[in-house]
């Protein structure tokens, strides 16, 4: 019997998970104060995440067992550079979206039927935040399943927040796809446990052999996660769900939620499945990713509505992430490809959140988001449109932006690996994204003499979109320290080799 050790207290950084859960409970009691609680909790979580980043950057990876219960029955948490970095970007983007949401869901004088009850957004967002943080800190594959489901369920509920038929239909489709994905993942977990008798990432990395069970588990788990990460051709659920959700929710889903599934894929392929993830297997996500870049861009080019354009752009941009698998399988390009994917994740998180918030402002300002009828939008929403433009620079990958660094690293990795077709895909994707971004710009920045009827958009909503866009731009100037942080600590293989806890 493994008894809990009462002398070990839980470290303070457990509160990045417990904090939002506590806030969600408080919101259930004090409904009217939800927004205040949300912003306060956001500030505290952001502070803790910053402190954890400093700790990890200084002292390397840290781990703990919650309540002193050891694995496998207890829950083990681990924070290395990758976890801390993801926690940080979640806190940064989440905090700015929270400020936007506080203005978006503020109580109106006249009850506006198109706006959902503002109290429900906050507890769901806190659950989502707790799930994301727990997912990034998980050190075993079953805990990852639980956090994946928590994240999926809160994300689906957020999608359906407006209760409009289109949103509910999209949420249902999203839910069913998400459940299929996580069941497939759970089946893989069961196979791995049956074959190797362990769930911990570190011990799996040490014990995994390329046995048939491991290969089947890799296939099942990857397929499930790719479905949740909306990799072509499993992306069909994403555009309607992301387009139908309220603006802050669209931003959260596109910036953070799909990235969490990709984070799990990175962990599995690079940490746990080292021996089983061969170059031939890595070709499948790579090719699908390349197709996604082209297909998503072409769909974005033909979209009629701004939010659809942005959602299809997410499909395309997610495609780039999957190029990391074939590139990293080539000797010599592994490190560069890994950095490229990580940088792409954080740059896209900032830029896409900014674009979705700006698109939300357009929807509120003009009451619609039909691209053809948005001529001269810049005259009514100058700050939002400037934010859209700055974020567009990062999405296209022009210097000096985070998107540029990421694409530059991708092209470098492709050349190092000798995989020229992938370099061509990155460049072609950049050209296509220029086309679809400028398709909107050419309308929005057109000079028109007649005035639109434009409602006033709260300044906090305009400026938070711009703030996120500026973050994406700033990432172009801060690459060395950021990449340095993400590389801190294990590949878990090192901790496994050191023994850890018996």
């Amino acid at each position: 019997m493994i008894a809990p050790d009462p002398t070990i207290g839980d470290p303070w950084w457990v509160w990045v998970i417990a904090g939002p859960l506590a806030a969600a409970c408080a919101m259930a009691v004090f409904r009217k104060l939800s927004a205040a609680f949300g912003l306060l909790a956001g500030l505290i979580i952001a502070g803790l995440a910053a402190r954890l980043i400093l700790l990890v950057a200084e002292a390397g990876a840290v781990k703990t067992e919650i309540g002193g219960w050891a694995a496998p029955l207890g829950i083990e948490l681990m924070a290395d550079g990758l976890s801390a970095g993801m926690l940080g970007i979640t806190a940064l983007v989440g905090m700015i979206i929270s400020i936007y949401a506080a203005a978006y869901f503020r109580p109106h004088d006249g009850a506006d039927p198109s706006n959902p009850p503002p109290t429900l957004f906050w507890p769901l967002w806190m659950f989502l935040w707790a799930a994301l943080n727990a997912l990034f800190l998980s050190a075993d594959i079953f805990n990852m399943y639980v956090t994946l489901e928590l994240m999926g369920l809160s994300a689906v509920a957020l999608t359906a927040l407006s209760r409009e038929p289109a949103a509910v239909s999209a949420a249902l489709r999203y839910l069913l796809v998400s459940l299929l994905g996580s069941l497939s993942y759970l089946m893989g977990v069961a196979l791995l446990y049956g074959a190797f008798g362990t769930l911990g990432l570190a011990s799996l990395a040490a014990e995994l052999t390329p046995a048939p069970a491991a290969l089947a588990a890799l296939a099942l788990m990857s397929a499930g996660l790719m479905m949740k990460a909306a990799l072509f051709p499993l992306h069909f659920w994403l555009p309607p769900a992301h387009a139908a959700a309220p603006a802050p929710v669209s931003a959260l889903l596109s910036a953070l939620v799909v990235k969490a599934s990709f984070y799990l894929l990175l962990r599995l392929w690079f940490d746990a499945f080292g021996p089983a993830a061969t170059a031939a297997a890595a070709l499948i996500p790579g090719v699908l990713g390349a197709v996604a870049v082209l297909w998503g861009s072409v769909q974005a080019l033909s979209a009629q509505r701004l939010k659809m354009l942005v959602a299809y752009s997410t499909v395309a941009q997610l495609g780039y992430l999957f190029l990391v698998f074939p590139l990293a399988a080539a000797e010599g390009a592994r490190g560069t490809a890994w950095c490229a994917a990580i940088y792409f994740v954080i740059a896209h998180a900032c830029a896409k959140a900014a674009v979705f918030l700006a698109a939300g402002n357009v929807l509120i300002g003009f009451g619609h988001d039909r691209i053809e009828e948005l001529r001269g939008a810049v005259q009514d929403l100058p700050v939002s449109m400037f934010g859209f433009a700055v974020a567009g620079v990062s999405l296209i990958g022009l210097p000096p932006s985070g998107g540029f660094i990421a694409k530059w690293l991708f092209v470098t990795a492709a050349i190092d690996a000798g995989q020229w077709p992938l370099a061509a895909v990155v460049v072609a994707g950049g050209l296509l994204s220029t086309a679809y971004i400028f398709r909107f710009f050419s309308r929005a920045f057109a000079h028109v003499t007649e005035k639109h009827s434009c409602c006033r958009v709260h300044p906090a909503m305009e400026w938070s979109a711009l703030a996120l866009a500026l973050c994406a731009l700033a990432l172009g100037l801060t690459a060395p320290p950021v990449i340095g942080l993400f590389q801190v600590g294990p590949p878990l293989l090192e901790t496994a080799a050191m023994g850890g806890r018996p």
């Binding site: 496998p72 038929p165 509910v168 999209a170």
Partner: protein, 102 residues
């Protein structure tokens, strides 16, 4: 064929049937039921994995996983049913046929 292997294979079969149903069924309720069938398949497979330790006592870890999994599946089913009800109230239809492409 040993009993654990039989259970494990039955679990895989249930999982496959459920996944097949989830993909092919047109009616939303059938899809939710398919998800539950597939989930039961995974749980049965996990329970069969508990036999992997020699001796009279089965391995408790898969049982803990199944209990957690059941809680998750119940919550997911509840959310799905609630969404179906909301959708039914507003459209009085319950097939996923609606097209909301650009």
């Amino acid at each position: 064929m040993t009993p654990p292997l039989l259970y494990a294979l039955a679990g895989v079969a249930l999982f496959s049937i459920g996944v097949g149903g989830l993909i092919t069924a047109a009616h939303l309720l059938r899809q939710v039921l398919s998800f539950n069938v597939a989930g039961s398949g995974v749980f049965l497979f996990l329970v069969a994995m508990a036999y992997r330790t020699p001796g009279p006592f089965p391995d408790p870890v898969p049982h803990a996983m199944v209990l957690t999994g059941i809680v998750v599946a119940v919550s997911a089913t509840a959310l799905a049913l609630l969404l179906i009800c909301i959708r039914h109230e507003s459209t009085a239809r319950s097939a996923t046929g609606e097209d909301d492409r650009p």
